[in-house]
């Protein structure tokens, strides 16, 4: 079988909730266990063994939560929009489920990034909130997520809700770079070059390696929780299917 044909078959297997439900059961530990171990390693390393920052002191250790959450919440938005596009074009139910569950997870990571950024701001800038370009962009990202969630829950029909939010998240994805650019421009106009939370000229390895570990751990955790949610969604939607009833009631 050619690569293209193989890819096509693999792609279409994602259309089947049954295929996903059976496969993902085996994938879950491969996501959950490494996620847990990486997060544990990253946390211990970051909180205890990473050196103190010469300028910010120990408050710098918030980076190990703030940065992974910020990166992840942006990636999740992108993934949500791509899944939505796949749902719009190929009508793949699983993409719809993924997009639906990306929104609350992404919103909670955006919230973590925002809250930890604000907390970090207190020892750094002396106040809980500064209209810093990155924090402001993160706040707008959170608004975008909340908009997607609000639209989804306002629409009764599930298919319509999935497609409408797919459009909204695609419009969001296209606009995020424009919003970020405009916020940065606004920021330089009003407070030129203040001290940035995370922009380090050079970070020693003992600082960025645990950060990298945390980022990977967060991605794996996201995969794990997304699959958990999607599995619950499969049950929610396919409760009339015999294969599912058999599988769940036998256990």
């Amino acid at each position: 079988m050619s690569f293209k044909a193989k890819f096509k078959r693999w792609f279409h297997s994602w259309a089947s909730p049954k295929w996903f439900f059976e496969k993902s059961e085996r994938w879950l530990p491969w996501l959950g266990v490494p996620a847990l171990s990486l997060l544990a390693i990253g946390l211990v390393w970051g909180l205890i063994f990473a050196p103190e920052d010469y300028q910010q002191g120990n408050s710098f250790r918030i980076i190990y939560l703030h940065v992974p959450a910020a990166i992840l919440s942006q990636s999740i938005f992108m993934m949500m929009a791509v899944a939505g596009a796949i749902n719009l074009i190929w009508r793949i139910k699983l993409a719809d489920m993924a997009a639906k569950h990306c929104a609350p997870i992404g919103a909670s990571f955006a919230f973590i990034a925002l809250a930890t950024g604000a907390i970090w701001g207190k020892p750094t800038w002396g106040t809980w909130w500064v209209w810093d370009a990155r924090l402001t962009s993160m706040l707008i990202l959170l608004f975008l997520y909340l908009g997607v969630i609000a639209l989804y829950s306002a629409i009764d029909n599930r298919e319509t809700a999935g497609r409408s939010t797919a459009i909204l998240s695609l419009v969001g994805l296209v606009n995020i770079p424009i919003i970020k650019y405009s916020v940065e421009l606004w920021n330089t106009l009003h407070q030129p070059a203040t001290f940035k939370l995370t922009e380090k000229p050079s970070m020693p390895a003992e600082m960025w390696v645990p950060l990298l570990i945390m980022v990977i751990g967060f991605y794996l955790f996201f995969g794990w929780i997304l699959f958990k949610r999607m599995r619950a969604e499969v049950i929610e939607r396919e409760f009339k299917a015999k294969w599912l009833q058999k599988k769940l009631i036998e256990n």
Binding site: G57, S59, H66, S108, K122, R229, A232, E233
Partner: protein
């Protein structure tokens, strides 16, 4: 203990303990909430399925 001289110093974080631990507490609560929520929706979905199966059996 790593960068810190004592457990006490680790908790205090050189005076930044409040901020560091508050940030991590927020993270833990939100992530814990996510895990709790997924368990809840799973349980509800399974309950619905069981109810449906039971009704089908009753109707024959």
């Amino acid at each position: 203990m790593g960068e810190f001289e004592s457990f006490q110093a680790f908790i205090e974080m050189g005076g930044h303990g409040l901020y560091v631990w508050l940030a991590y507490a927020v993270g833990a609560v939100v992530i814990g909430g996510n895990i709790w929520w997924v368990g809840r929706i799973r349980k509800l979905a399974e309950q619905r399925l069981r109810k449906y199966v039971r009704r089908q059996e009753l109707e024959g």
